[in-house]
């Protein structure tokens, strides 16, 4: 097992722009002024009681915070007798943790006096959350989505449009999330005076990794109290899935300076890291620069980005937030891949044992919890960030488990499988 002792007593206070050798700002000069403006607006908002109160009010009366902690005893029977506790971000309005960050940034957008937000989305969860906040606060909203993903996630495209957002299919490059980010950056460079780029994870140039973490750290702060109240002690292990890493850093943050609490991030292992078809940027990538920061990325020997693969659209990204890269390199957190098959097995198990349909993203964290539980055995406590619910994944899951015949499925799903097979 890796040494998980902290490298500093105050990991929680790291504020960027660098996390070890990671992070920074690798951006066109044209964006620096906007990043500085955002940095200043965020710094001011963080200590402004009016902003704090407004966000807190939205959390309580709109998202439904605090999210509850649910013990999963029947699920835990498959985890060597350890206790498994689920932090229920799936119960938030819009169905995932994404809303925490979106509400924070949308309020900041209003403070900066900008009338328009843009966002990237892969699965559509961040796009839906952004469209939701834009509707709530009266902002114009444009969401960039890879053309491939608009087909894979047709239902979320419709949701965004119902909420009044414009969804722009991106036809450049691989037509997936990374290309949607490129296109959002191009829009931002062009319209930066009127527009805030509402980035959906803890990646991108400073201050995004720090700011997005700050908006999500409430997950871990609540969970730490809830676990203490329920069990009288801190958990042995905290697990979370890692795409860009926002839900993971959100739940890890409160525990960073508790050296006895092990932090485990689960990356999308796809068909297995050894096959090359995965999205495990830390386990299977190398240090480089992508989308404005230095971090671990999937790249070829020339530095061209390699496309990621995962059954989970929300984890299907060839990079990871710089703070995770640093926590991995320093040994404070561990990162391991979970294959599509293991994630889907954990998905099925949670449905059957607890009556909760998790997001496939979150199922990676559940698979990690099963492993850790078996390792810890009787008396162990594992806290899992259940980052989202699985409504959006029902088609994918039904096909995976052979629960419906192909003609019953919506077209987008059938096309997705055709495309996957064609690749």
């Amino acid at each position: 097992m890796t040494d998980t002792s902290p490298t500093s007593a105050r990991l929680r206070e790291a504020v960027g722009p660098y996390f070890g050798r990671f992070g920074g700002r690798f951006v066109p000069e044209a964006l620096v002024a906007a990043l500085d403006e955002l940095d200043a607006a965020f710094a001011a908002a963080q200590v402004d009681p009016a902003f704090i109160a407004e966000l807190d009010e939205l959390h309580r009366t709109y998202s439904g915070r605090p999210s509850i902690l649910t013990e999963a005893p029947r699920f835990a029977e498959h985890a060597g007798g350890a206790r498994i506790l689920l932090k229920r971000e799936d119960l938030n309005h819009t169905g995932s943790h994404k809303i925490n960050n979106v509400l924070g940034q949308a309020l900041l957008t209003k403070r900066m006096g900008k009338p328009r937000v843009i966002a990237e989305t892969g699965a559509g969860q961040h796009g839906v959350a952004t469209a939701t906040a834009a509707a709530l606060l009266g902002l114009e909203c444009v969401v960039y989505m890879g053309e491939e993903d608009t087909r894979r996630q047709a239902l979320n495209v419709a949701r965004m449009r119902l909420l009044g957002a414009e969804v722009v299919p991106v036809t450049a490059g691989s037509r997936t999330l990374k290309d949607a980010i490129n296109e959002a950056m191009r829009d931002w460079v062009t319209n930066v005076d009127t527009t805030h780029y509402l980035l959906g994870t803890v990646a991108g140039p400073h201050p995004f990794p720090t700011m997005v973490r700050e908006f999500h750290k409430i997950i871990g702060e609540e969970a730490r109290e809830q676990v203490l109240a329920l069990t009288g002690r801190l958990p042995d292990v905290v697990t979370a899935c890692v795409g860009g890493g926002s839900n993971a850093i959100g739940i890890f943050h409160a525990f960073l300076d508790d050296p006895d609490v092990q932090l485990l991030g689960l990356e999308a292992g796809g068909d297995g890291v050894e096959t090359g078809r995965h999205a495990s940027s830390i386990t299977g990538g190398a240090a480089g620069v992508l989308h404005g920061n230095r971090t671990f990325i999937l790249q070829d020997e020339d530095g061209q980005t390699i496309e990621s693969h995962s059954i989970s659209a929300g984890l299907d990204y060839p990079g990871v937030g710089p703070e995770h890269a640093w926590l991995a390199e320093s040994g404070r957190a561990r990162y391991e891949p979970v294959t599509d098959a293991d994630a889907m097995e954990a998905f099925r198990l949670l449905c059957r044992t607890e009556g909760i349909i998790p997001a496939i993203e979150s199922s990676h964290a559940l698979a990690g919890a099963l492993r850790e539980g078996r390792r810890l055995g009787e008396g162990g406590i594992v806290l899992v960030n259940l980052s989202g619910r699985g409504d959006k994944d029902v088609d994918t899951a039904a096909r995976w488990f052979g629960l419906v015949s192909a003609p019953d499925l919506v077209n987008s799903e059938a096309e997705r499988v055709d495309l996957k097979e064609a690749q």
């Binding site: 920074g24 700002r25 690798f26 951006v27 066109p28 000069e29 044209a30 964006l31 620096v32 002024a33 906007a34 450049a172 490059g173 990374k178 290309d179 490129n182 950056m185 191009r186 460079v189 062009t190 319209n191 930066v192 005076d193 480089g288 620069v289 992508l290 989308h291 404005g292 990325i297 790249q299 020997e301 020339d302 530095g303 061209q304 980005t305």
Partner: protein, 264 residues
């Protein structure tokens, strides 16, 4: 070939702006791209900006995106740009590589600096690298006497203009508009304002890029800048030609017309 500075000084002595032409290596294929760069030089381009194809060109508009995507599909590699730099040097002009940072990072900054200097290239234009992140490149370019061209933008504060210009060698790339590369029907007033603001903080030549596509615009920009940078229009000339040979001819013709523009 060393710095681009003498070429810019010569143009100035002739009472005109320099013409800088961009093409990515490998589009539509390796040999044609290099032939087109040579045709640029033969028709009056003073400095060639050699694009290094990258999978995620977030400062580029559709014309260049499409070209670099095609170049990558055709197998273009970063090291091909060194071959291009040698060919351009042989044709008698200095060249700068235009590269997104991860490609340089991956190649190894000191190694790229050494290899580029050996190939006769003059330096790098770095669209997604700001001086604050450029420590290793500043060191390596000093060691090999290479030019460092950073960009300034209309949104840059006066403080950043001074800081960025101070980090440049060769010239300062003045991004004429807020936005990505692409052909524009009009040159924006912002360019002239930004040139004036940058002039106040540096003695380096100021070259204006983003959107210039024809002789008339080149003449207009030449009225206030030391150099005119043209990219998408050259790529479009290659792209719209009926054959590679016709593309090379079209690039040459465009170069000749722009060269007349900067002398107008």
């Amino acid at each position: 070939m060393s710095s681009v500075a003498p070429v810019l000084a010569q143009a100035k002595a002739e009472g005109r702006a320099a013409l800088i032409g961009y093409l990515p290596v490998g589009f539509p294929d390796h040999d044609t791209s290099i032939a087109a760069m040579v045709a640029m030089v033969e028709n009056g381009v003073d400095i060639v900006e050699i694009g290094v194809p990258y999978s995620d060109p977030l400062m580029d508009g559709p014309v260049i995106q499409h070209a670099v995507e095609a170049a990558l599909v055709a197998g273009a590699r970063p090291r091909d740009t060194l071959v291009a730099a040698e060919a351009v040097a042989k044709a008698g002009a200095p060249s700068l590589l235009m590269s997104y940072w991860n490609l340089v990072d991956r190649y190894g900054v000191p190694k790229l600096a050494a290899d580029l200097a050996a190939a006769g290239g003059s330096g790098l234009i770095t669209p997604d690298l700001i001086p604050e992140e450029a420590g290793e490149w500043i060191e390596a370019s000093d060691e090999h006497g290479l030019d460092r061209v950073f960009l300034v933008a209309p949104s840059s504060t006066d403080g950043r203009l001074a800081m960025t210009a101070a980090a440049c060698r060769g010239f300062v790339y003045v991004a004429s508009t807020m936005g990505v590369t692409g052909v524009r029907s009009q040159v924006n007033d912002a360019a002239e304002v930004l040139v004036r603001r940058t002039r106040a903080v540096t003695d380096l030549p100021l070259c204006v890029g983003l959107g210039v596509s024809n002789a008339e615009q080149a003449a207009q920009v030449a009225g206030f800048a030391d150099g005119v940078i043209v990219g998408s229009a050259f790529v479009r000339a290659l792209n719209e030609a009926s054959s590679p040979a016709a593309g090379v001819r079209a690039v040459g013709e465009l170069a000749a017309s722009l060269a007349a523009g900067v002398r107008a």
